[in-house]
Symmetry: C2
Subunit: 338 residues, 2 copies
């Protein structure tokens, strides 16, 4: 049986302080370091204290600065959706939320400080190699975490993600084939990403379709020239169907560029987007796309972390969940007679 | 000097319970009603307890359901921005955040229950008449609140909002006049809203320009026909400049419809949007617009509420702040030689 005195000894504070800290009382009398140390030892020793376990601070860690959050096509939507999912779980509970907004591109944030901002973490797609240091710190502190949205194939810790690019590619090609298309192009923001090219090859092969570098295009969200060039090549090469893996707004950009070349959607070419967002009414179309379960990800991640927190050793719990994207049938895919 | 016994007497619980509740300790032993009652009496009596005052739960109440949050053009961006502003203030503090998402259109939410979800509230634009009941409940419970984004002219409680439509209209007309335009149209999603028409008249009059119903157009975000009709009338009536008050995505819709009629932006017609969002690269333009200080609103609201909470009587504090929108100069306004 672990006692508060055991924790006090390890943390080098008196027992009354341990009691107050674990009760969440008079916290203003203690430095953040001391609070952190006491909580950390309490978890490590498996100390059971109902109130402490009930007063969970759930950190929602996500990338991008304010400017980008407002500016990117879907950053705000996806983050809001996941946040709402997590909040739904916290509603009416004693738990609280801490939004932790880090500009990942800096790579210079104070891992230790960030790890101290919450008891457990929902982490948006922090899957770069340099982030391993952060995960090591979380584990050292025995703080449970779940990465959501996407992870690399080698990622071993807990994650709740949407289906992979490979699944999207296969689904897109399946759908187009079902509608009688065989001249299919794929558009990415970054085709070099692991698995995309080979997924294209594999999916084409399964359908008995010929695949080459001619089928694959890429341009980044703000690259007007790249989008224009892609539209021109798609027109020249006579594709009847194109899927845009990056997102719906990129797909709309492509639709506009195709329109400038006289190609109408879906009469001349069918288009399938990704990460459903509503279309511009002026384009006169309702983009067919896939809906991404961001709300559900946030919700399940929060549920997992809260469930784990009531157990004595949360560090050994691992979850690997892959949530399905859902096909949204708009009016931008035309059936070809065969 | 108010004591815990005074509170215990009023709340009809024992003194130890009052102590625990105000310390935030062992809260799981008490029903939400009891916790709420004790806290409420403590505030009403002006009881000073450092920890209690330090453990502030800040509710962020905003409208729209999940679907709309993802679907509307700027709902997610503006909400994220305000949330990030509020979170910034909470960072590293003992305070916590509670996102409270209500579908306002239902008008049926349980006001009392919502009021109990947090100690103080940042409220997104809840300024309809039926909402007065909610404000009355918050006041009764002596819970401080700030309404952000917009309020009606008659709203007397605390608000931190962006400049009014009237200011936007005047600024837009000022900018166009500075560039030598005199044939100016205004586009709204709802022109009937108080003050918009008279603000148009007034601003035109100040510049010595003629104003009539011919200058004013309106269509809603999803109304493709309305947008098309507006574009046609703008072309027919020979305007050289148009501002779109509703938002930048509506402005882009209008740009696309004008393009179908052969009108190029800014060569043939200048366009000014609102609530800056980046343009579609495929349109080959960087929309001139106004940036709305949503982040700043959330930040200041949280600062105000936290500052007030450390005082004994927060119910009498009122703030009325109007934050400026900032002109963003893109490339969609052309100077006319006079």
């Amino acid at each position: 049986m672990v006692t508060q005195s055991d924790i006090a000894k390890l943390a080098k504070v008196d027992r009354t302080s341990v009691s107050k800290i674990l009760c969440g009382a008079q916290l203003e009398h203690f430095s953040d370091d001391v609070v952190e140390k006491v909580k950390s030892f309490a978890i490590r020793l498996g100390y059971k204290h109902r109130h402490f376990k009930n007063a969970l601070k759930l950190g929602f860690l996500f990338p991008v600065g304010m400017d980008e959050a407002l500016d990117g096509y879907t950053y705000a939507e996806r983050t809001m959706a996941a946040l709402l999912g997590a909040s739904k779980v916290l509603e009416g509970s004693k738990h609280s939320l801490q939004i932790v907004n880090i500009n990942y591109s800096n790579r210079t944030f104070d891992f230790d400080k960030v790890a101290n901002t919450a008891d457990v973490f929902i982490i948006w797609e922090l899957t770069w190699e340099w982030a391993d240091r952060f995960y090591a710190i979380l584990k050292e502190k025995q703080k449970d975490f779940v990465v959501i949205n996407r992870v690399s194939a080698s990622f071993k810790d807990s994650y709740i993600i949407h289906e992979s690019d490979e699944v999207y590619i296969k689904s897109a090609i399946d759908i187009f084939c079902k509608y009688g298309h065989s001249k299919i192009a794929g558009v990415f923001n970054d085709v070099e990403k692991t698995g995309r090219l080979s997924a294209m090859k594999e999916a084409f092969k399964q359908k008995g379709l010929e695949h080459s570098a001619q089928n694959v295009f890429s341009f980044h969200e703000r690259d007007a020239d790249g989008c224009r060039k892609t539209a021109r090549l798609i027109a020249e090469r006579g594709f009847t169907a194109v899927f845009v893996q990056s997102n719906d707004m990129n797909a709309l950009d492509l639709v506009i560029e195709l329109g400038k070349l006289g190609l109408r959607v879906p009469e001349d070419i069918s288009v399938l987007g990704n990460h459903k967002k509503r279309s511009l009414p002026s384009l006169g179309l309702d983009l067919s796309s896939f809906e991404t379960p961001w709300y559900e990800m946030g919700k399940r991640a929060a549920e997992f972390l809260i469930a784990g927190y009531s157990q004595s050793d949360c560090s050994k719990r691992i979850t690997h969940e892959v949530l399905k994207q859902k096909f949204y049938e708009g009016n931008t895919i035309r059936g070809l007679s065969r």
